[in-house]
């Protein structure tokens, strides 16, 4: 008769040991500014390897059965707007999953308590599984979707793409920050706060657009996220036992709630409002329900008894929900030559829905779609990017363009710090920079790479050209008589020009802290 879980758990814990062939300092590798010594860890899931592999095998059996069945049975046509948008989404998602796996490796190595190490090691395996599941979706789409161009370069596309810079900067910050802080960014905000909306909410969306394999993929991934959420709480519960950690936790929570809002929440909102035809709720409704009510009320608020304060930019974040998906759409649709999917612009039906869910939408954002509609035929020699005056500056922290909350009333600003001018999209990003300035230095921003280049040169250097060497992967519409080519872009005569920096809102800083 096997031992019960709780008794077996205590027995297994007693088997931990300190290796004799390496010193503690050599084993830990990375230090942390958080105080961990002498604290009592907990592991709510108490998962053993035996149960872990049994559980994962059960999940794989169920998921791959669905993939097998969907290859034989036709539940319905796949929606083109959705399938094209997944070229942008899945490449970036794979990168996020892989980065998360690396983060867990760092945490397992650097954090001492065995209970937490067990959870992190399993999460590392989970994240590698997730990257592989998503890549399997990509492979399936490459083989079966009517227009595979774009799916075939999805990883290099995400690695070099100007829009993908948002996700890259987010995950690179997570992968290189303090190994305990990475838990707060990833496990608390991405996995407890936002992954519900993404993997659970969007599984229904995928199914509604005929993408059953992705629906199953998202649900099976999210079932692993349940344990990751528990890893996050277990890490936080450990830290909260030492009062010296409270201000450090607060600073990390403040930073990562904002970064998750921009680096994950905004991309998700774009998908929900602009990459779907069969919508039920808006991105704003979804975020309010899952993030601002369920996550903040059911989890974050409970930290107040430990001295943790509400997120300082909460009101600004909630206010941005009215506009950030629409401004993000202006960016990704307006800059279509810099992407590798065929866009499906908003129809009058879409616009009616958007007006209903976001009253005033047409007066704030309709102008863009009118201009877009005039610039889709390559024979007109007009690309909407040029008609609207080109791309704006980009934030040096989060990499989003300075068009948020709306292009006409954005909160972007410059600031001279230690003698050099820097550009930020908002007060939170400016604060993040000042708290850790060396982290956000780069000379490989979009304008550093492409200033002075003609538009077709950018598309060609990025690799966003189909096998005929001329036709672009990115297109402003799904179907038309003539697709855009490199020659068509050249005929528009658009040269990438660095815009003047925005005005400074705060005085010069001699040196950042």
């Amino acid at each position: 008769m096997s031992l019960q879980i709780t008794k077996a758990y205590d027995r297994i814990k007693a088997l931990d040991w300190e290796p004799s062939y390496i010193s503690k300092g050599q084993k830990v590798v990375e230090t942390t500014r958080f105080h961990l010594t002498g604290l009592k860890p907990l592991d709510p899931f108490k998962t053993f390897l035996r149960e872990y592999f049994t559980m994962e095998q059960e999940k794989e059996n169920r998921h791959y059965s669905i993939l097998e069945a969907s290859s034989r049975l036709h539940s319905g046509p796949r929606d083109a707007r959705w399938m094209e948008a997944m070229k942008f989404v899945l490449g970036n998602l794979v990168g996020l999953e892989y980065a998360a796996g690396r983060q867990m490796g760092r945490m397992a190595r650097s954090l001492a308590p065995m209970e937490l190490r067990q959870g992190y090691m399993m999460q590392m395996l989970d994240e590698m599984r997730h990257a592989q599941l998503e890549m399997n979706n990509v492979r399936q789409n490459m083989r079966s979707w009517e227009d595979p161009a774009g799916y075939d370069i999805i990883l290099s596309g995400a690695a070099s793409n100007v829009g993908g810079g948002l996700f890259r900067s987010f995950m690179e910050d997570l992968t290189t920050c303090d190994p305990v802080e990475t838990s707060i960014g990833l496990q608390i905000f991405v996995e407890t706060g936002y992954s519900n909306v993404f993997f659970v909410g969007m599984s229904s969306a995928a199914a509604a657009h005929g993408d059953d394999p992705l629906a199953s993929t998202m649900l099976t991934i999210q079932s692993d996220e349940s344990r990751h959420m528990a890893n996050g709480w277990a890490t936080l519960a450990l830290l909260l036992q030492d009062d010296r950690n409270i201000p450090l936790i607060q600073q990390a929570l403040d930073k990562w709630f904002w970064r998750a809002h921009v680096g994950f929440g905004m991309g998700l909102a774009l998908v929900q409002d602009y990459f779907m035809k069969n919508r039920t709720e808006s991105a704003k409704e979804s975020a309010l329900r899952w993030v601002y009510d369920e996550f903040l009320g059911g989890f974050y608020q409970k930290l107040e008894r430990y001295g943790i304060k509400a997120p300082p930019h909460l009101d600004d974040q909630i206010a941005e929900l009215d506009s950030y998906s629409h401004s993000a759409a202006i960016y990704i649709f307006g800059a279509w030559p810099f992407f590798y999917h065929r866009a499906d612009p908003m129809t009058s039906e879409d616009m009616d829905w958007l007006e209903k869910k976001y009253p005033g939408w047409h007066s704030k954002f309709g102008w863009f779609w009118d201009a877009y509609g005039r610039c889709t035929d390559p024979r007109d020699r007009a690309v909407v990017l040029k008609e609207l005056g080109g791309l704006p500056s980009f934030c040096e922290v989060c990499q989003r363009p300075l068009i948020f909350p709306t292009p006409d009333k954005h909160t972007g600003r410059s600031r001279v710090i230690a003698g050099k001018n820097h550009i930020f999209c908002s007060t939170p990003c400016e604060t993040i920079y000042i708290n850790d300035p060396t982290r956000y230095q780069t000379d490989k921003g979009f304008y550093d790479l492409y200033e002075g280049c003609e538009l077709s040169e950018v598309a060609e250097r990025s690799g966003y050209v189909r096998d005929d060497g001329q036709t672009l992967m990115g297109q402003p519409v799904l179907q038309q008589e003539k697709m855009w080519t490199l020659d068509d872009l050249r005929a528009c005569n658009y040269i990438v020009t660095r815009p003047p920096p925005p005005p400074a809102l705060n005085p010069e800083l001699v040196a950042a802290s």
């Binding site: 099976t220 999210q222 519960a237 369920e294 009320g297 989890f299 608020q301 509400a310």
Partner: protein, 98 residues
């Protein structure tokens, strides 16, 4: 004074839809009639004030086969609250303790 957060005492669980989830819901509704279940197409959302308790022995009886923790966790897509895996049960409660 900074922004204020509204406390919530609701705990939730999201289950991947299928025969296992149907059995879980049947057992839950008989033990916690106040729980609310919503069908979202690919998943079921379960909500209750204070706690959700999943007795795996009862679920196994409902299904007509043994039912263990790894099999239950294979369909638990998400939850809100603090989770506690016990010997043959899973509890999700609104109280977070360190």
């Amino acid at each position: 004074m900074g922004p204020e957060l509204k406390p919530s005492h609701t705990v939730t669980a999201k289950l991947i839809k299928g025969s296992d989830a149907a059995a879980v819901v049947a057992v839950l509704m008989s033990s916690s009639p106040s729980a609310v279940v919503q069908d979202h197409g690919t998943y079921l959302s379960l909500e209750n004030e204070g706690s959700l308790f999943f007795n795996l022995t009862d679920i196994g009886e409902e299904l007509g086969r043994p039912y263990d923790i790894p099999t239950f966790l294979a369909i638990l897509a998400s939850y809100t609250g603090q989770v506690d895996v016990q010997d043959n049960a899973v509890l999700i409660s609104e109280t977070y303790s360190t």
